[in-house]
């Protein structure tokens, strides 16, 4: 194994960018901050790709199995023997893959933002925040210690908060960033409790040791964790479910998804980076990181992951069909696709052929990062051109934005699962895994993938075909090379990433997984996808009143889906009516009257007494001497006669 300490540079370079631009940006790099941030990230990307090449083709594989390497490890805060918060770097197939994905997508977004965010008042701050986010995300994926991951997890949450609230003068953006932060924080509390439970029973915080202790069948720790139970469920399952709640919060799984659509208030490249390609898959990554524990020791928890994923995928897809804000459509599509990844993990087993779902999930994560970032950046171009997020303001844009149009089409085909684009391969693997293990999830997934194709092409046709939008006056075209280059690079990725033999590299146990390609199996999903596409084409290619009619005939369902199944309203009801009134008000009353009253009374009593006795501090030596003598006599009497 060669010296791999340079890997630490990959997260540290964006951190350096954050510090440099955050501290000096406003005064010294007003216009050059974008170039600085992008250059630092370019170096990080090159290093990440170099690492990936080295890991996958040179030193990572030992006797046909990809090893978990720990090139860097510092013990940082030791609580007791074995239980310590360490800072380390772990290299295994998924972390190396995530390194590449995060740096690459982040680089694309950096380049894209050079034009997109040009002229913004807080341009350096924007790049500083991007650097902070990239640092935290990279730190998260290479964490070798579950607590280290938690630290970066929170850092990711903070940078997401900062970036959603970037336009802090818009009330909606402020509300959105608060919502995102509070909802994910709420979920993170689950994650923290989960960490505590797991580390309590395993006696370690280190990932490798933890997984090893909680999976080997004869370990004492595993027996204890399974034996202890609460409400009829074992402590281990509770711990894993709580950890999954943390992941579900970050990954916008039902019912903690409500922050994701609102998070689209942030700048569009940020949505592409954080709320499509990287941060929202952190939950998937977390489950994948602990996958052996889930799969071997707590299959109930894994089942929960699967069902939550499937439900999220379905609900999000239905809602996406009715939304008119293009970024919100993409947000719900993201949620739906992450649901796919989640249930793919949920239906997977550990090791060998059983691990197909795991590989498929990671594969889909990889391809999804490409085409979803592309979709968001394309949507960004459209918004940049038309200055609106609403579908009704768009239409017929293919003539004005030819390159955006082509790349957007590629992305739509990819997400719809049309061969030979990337999404086809990953989604087929997911469906195959679901087919083999759980038929309910399989049919839900099949239906959802049809819906996916439908709403994506509804989006595509509404933007680029349909009626002709009124483009008044001069328009500035598609933007420069910096705006188009990321689109083209990501389009290449979205088109070709599917041909990577992913099973060779990433599998649940590190061995090679032959992903057999079943032609007969693929026919059904592709056919359903095509039906979705053609339905969308029939409804939306030309402007007509068919969509409205259908919406009217399905009025109840349509309205429910349009209002996102009233989940936001439910949350509002619970928090405003129940929490605020029943708990908040009494607590406020208690605080105002009892707690404050006690504090004020203490203060007032002290003040009154000191007013009374301050005359003793007269500054007169003789008075002090008298006090002294009286004290001495009193003590003498006390000691001699009272306390003999």
């Amino acid at each position: 194994m060669p010296n791999l300490t340079y890997i630490a540079l990959i997260p540290l370079l964006p951190l350096a960018g954050f510090l440099l631009l955050g501290i000096f940006g406003r005064n010294y790099f007003k216009t050059t901050s974008g170039i600085i941030g992008t250059t630092l990230l370019l170096i990080a990307t090159v290093l990440a790709i170099y690492t990936a090449y080295g890991y996958f083709f040179e030193y990572g594989k030992v006797a046909g199995v990809y090893q978990k390497l720990v090139p860097l490890h510092y013990t940082w805060l030791e609580f007791s023997k074995g239980v310590s918060i360490d800072m380390g770097i772990i290299l295994d197939p998924i972390s190396v893959m995530m390194l590449v994905v995060v740096t690459f997508v982040s680089l694309m977004v950096h380049i894209y933002s050079l034009v997109y965010m040009k002229g913004e008042e807080r341009f350096p701050t924007y790049y500083a925040f991007l650097g902070l986010f990239t640092f935290s995300m990279l730190g998260l994926v290479v964490s070798s210690n579950i607590f280290q991951m938690y630290i970066f997890w929170e850092l990711v949450g903070v940078s997401s908060f900062l970036l959603i609230g970037y336009y802090y003068d818009r009330p909606s953006a402020v509300a959105a960033c608060k919502k995102a932060f509070i909802v994910t924080r709420f979920a993170d509390a689950g994650f923290l409790i989960g960490i505590l439970i797991l580390s309590f029973y395993s006696g370690t915080l280190d990932f490798n040791t933890l997984i090893q202790k909680l999976t080997s069948p004869d370990s004492v720790e595993l027996k204890n964790a399974v034996a202890a139970s609460f409400l009829g469920v074992s402590a281990l399952t509770w711990g894993l479910v709580l950890v999954f709640i943390g992941g579900a919060g970050k990954s916008a799984m039902f019912p903690l998804h409500i922050w994701l659509p609102d998070a689209m208030e942030g700048p569009t490249p940020v949505s592409a980076l954080i709320h499509a390609a990287t941060m929202v898959v952190a939950g998937v990554f977390l489950v994948a990181r602990l996958f052996p524990v889930f799969a071997i020791s707590a299959p109930e928890a894994l089942n929960l992951v699967g069902y939550v994923g499937a439900i999220s995928a379905l609900i999000a897809a239905v809602i996406a069909c009715t939304q008119t804000d293009i970024k919100r459509v993409l947000a719900y599509s993201t949620m739906s696709q992450i649901g796919f990844m989640m249930f793919a993990l949920g239906v997977s087993g550990h090791g060998g052929e059983n691990g197909l779902g795991y590989t498929a999930s990671m594969f889909h994560l990889f391809t999804h990062a490409m085409f979803k970032a592309l979709l968001f950046l394309g949507a960004g171009s459209v918004i940049h051109f038309i200055h609106s997020n609403e579908m009704k303001d768009m239409g017929g844009l293919r003539k004005y934005l030819p390159i955006t149009h082509i790349t957007f089409l590629i992305a739509c085909l990819a997400i719809a699962g049309v061969p030979p684009f990337a999404g086809f391969f990953s989604k087929e693997e997911i469906l195959l895994a679901a087919y083999q293990h759980n038929s309910i999830i399989y049919y839900v997934a099949l239906f959802t993938s049809g819906l996916t194709a439908f709403y994506m092409f509804r989006l595509y046709f509404s933007i680029f075909w349909n009626k002709k939008a009124d483009i008044h006056g001069e328009h500035h075209g598609e933007g420069g090379f910096a705006l188009l280059m990321p689109l083209i690079l990501l389009a290449v990725g979205a088109a070709a990433a599917g041909f990577i033999p992913f099973g060779n590299f990433v599998s649940s146990d590190g061995t090679k997984l032959e992903s057999a390609f079943h032609l007969q199996f693929s026919i059904l999903p592709v056919a359903i996808g095509l039906i979705g596409i053609f339905t969308a084409m029939w409804l939306y290619k030309k402007k007509n009143d068919k969509p409205d009619k259908i919406a009217a005939s399905l009025s109840g369902l349509y309205k429910a889906a349009y209002r996102k199944f009233y989940i936001d309203e439910l949350y509002t009801f619970i928090t405003k009516k129940i929490l605020f009134n029943l708990i908040g008000r009494p607590a406020a009353w208690f605080d105002k009257n009892i707690v404050d009253g006690l504090v004020n009374a203490t203060g007032k009593a002290t003040q009154t007494i000191s007013e009374k006795i301050k005359g003793m501090q007269s500054g007169k030596v003789q008075q002090y001497a008298i006090y002294f003598l009286i004290g001495v006599i009193a003590l003498a009497v006390l000691f001699i006669y009272v306390w003999k």
């Binding site: 003598l629 001495v632 006599i633 001699i640």
Partner: protein, 172 residues
Amino acid sequence: MSGSTIIFYLLAALILVSGAMSVTSRQIFRAAIYLLFSLIGIAGMFFWLQYEFIAAVQIVVYVGGIVVLIIFSIFLTQQAGEKLAKQKLGRQVFSALAAFCGFALTLLQVYQHDFIKTTAVAIEPTVSNIGNQMLGVNDNGYALPFEVVSILLLAAMIGCIVIAMKSKPEAA
């Protein structure tokens, strides 16, 4: 009643009466003189106890040094013929009461306590004995405290000069 006893009671009366006069006299110069008599009485008491060396030191240091110093400071700070300011009556009564309580308590303890005399052979408190033992470095020697006291005296001397020195008027 032997002559020694008579002398003791005379000395005791001298000490206490002139001590009391020294703290009550309203003319400061007289107070100083009463203090002088009280200190001489104590020196006499040391003679009576046959500690001649201590008595000599008492006379040399207190009578010859401290009282003279006090009288000097009276000359420096006091206008002639001025009577001392009177303390408030309440304070006087209260102080007397407090002092008397302390006095009573202490005496009570003293008289209740049974002092036990050692049976070892006595040493004569001659000058040579005192000098040899005080400057000795054996178990009973007091060489180290002696040196410390000498340092203290030096420090006090320097401190007095610094404190009492007239500060030069600042160039302002």
